[in-house]
Symmetry: C2
Subunit: 144 residues, 2 copies
């Protein structure tokens, strides 16, 4: 996504550009959070578990992990469990924090637990720092 600037810098397009950028990081975020959860839960993350929880095939997981590995976010030896690099852990923790706030916020709004979980997963990657702060504040003062 190399947009060489110049007269192409239209204000209106900023939002859509950001969304496309968000989507790029979204998949990485989902993988990393999931891997972190699996490690916390069961001590290790295996490709099959990741595939199952994301609802994709093993092959897709392998391919994606390869990209994430090149990005220095995860580490893995062939046929072995998946680990997170320090960078990966940082990303996972940020993601989980965001997730907690968004889901908690939706619950405070009166959304059902099931929907809150589903919606939070989608919304979490599109929430700016400012909005996240507002949600946290809303939560802190008990949803009013």
């Amino acid at each position: 996504m190399t947009f060489k600037k110049g007269q192409t810098a239209r204000l209106r397009s900023a939002a859509f550009r950001r969304i496309r950028a968000d989507h790029q990081g979204e998949l990485a975020g989902d993988y990393v959070e999931l891997i972190a959860d699996l490690i916390d839960e069961k001590g290790e993350a295996r490709g099959t578990d990741v595939a199952m929880r994301l609802g994709v095939s093993n092959a897709t997981v392998v391919k994606t992990l390869k990209r994430l590995q090149e990005g220095g976010i995860v580490a893995q030896e062939p046929y072995r469990a998946i680990f997170l690099t320090p960078e990966g852990w940082k990303m996972a923790d940020e993601g989980r924090r965001k997730h907690r706030i968004v889901e908690g916020f939706l619950l405070a709004l009166g959304i059902s637990a099931e929907t809150a979980r589903l919606d939070a997963e989608g919304i979490e990657h599109h929430v700016s720092a400012e909005t996240l702060r507002a949600m946290a504040k809303f939560l802190a003062r008990g949803g009013s």
Copy 2:
């Protein structure tokens, strides 16, 4: 995609499945809303305007419009302006309604106008009917 290793995995993967489905419709939604806005604003929607506002190239717009045309959402003759089918208008109106609610909700939360606009664009496609209802209700009672 046969995972019967328990309900937990199935439930978790549902969220990610929905997000992938959302993303598919997201692009269509963006195009259609934008085209509707352009028609309302200037009487017609041209490819160049769409490209400019979305921040993508003309060629990308042409290719995407072709798919949307096959989906019966937009109509266009070569070298002419873009129109929406009745289906397209329905989609655009729903999208704009959603958008208004989400953006209004963020403003009511105390988010700045600029951020509200940006975030709403991203969030709008991931908000369930239930959450949208809650946001509308929150708005209706004046943000409390």
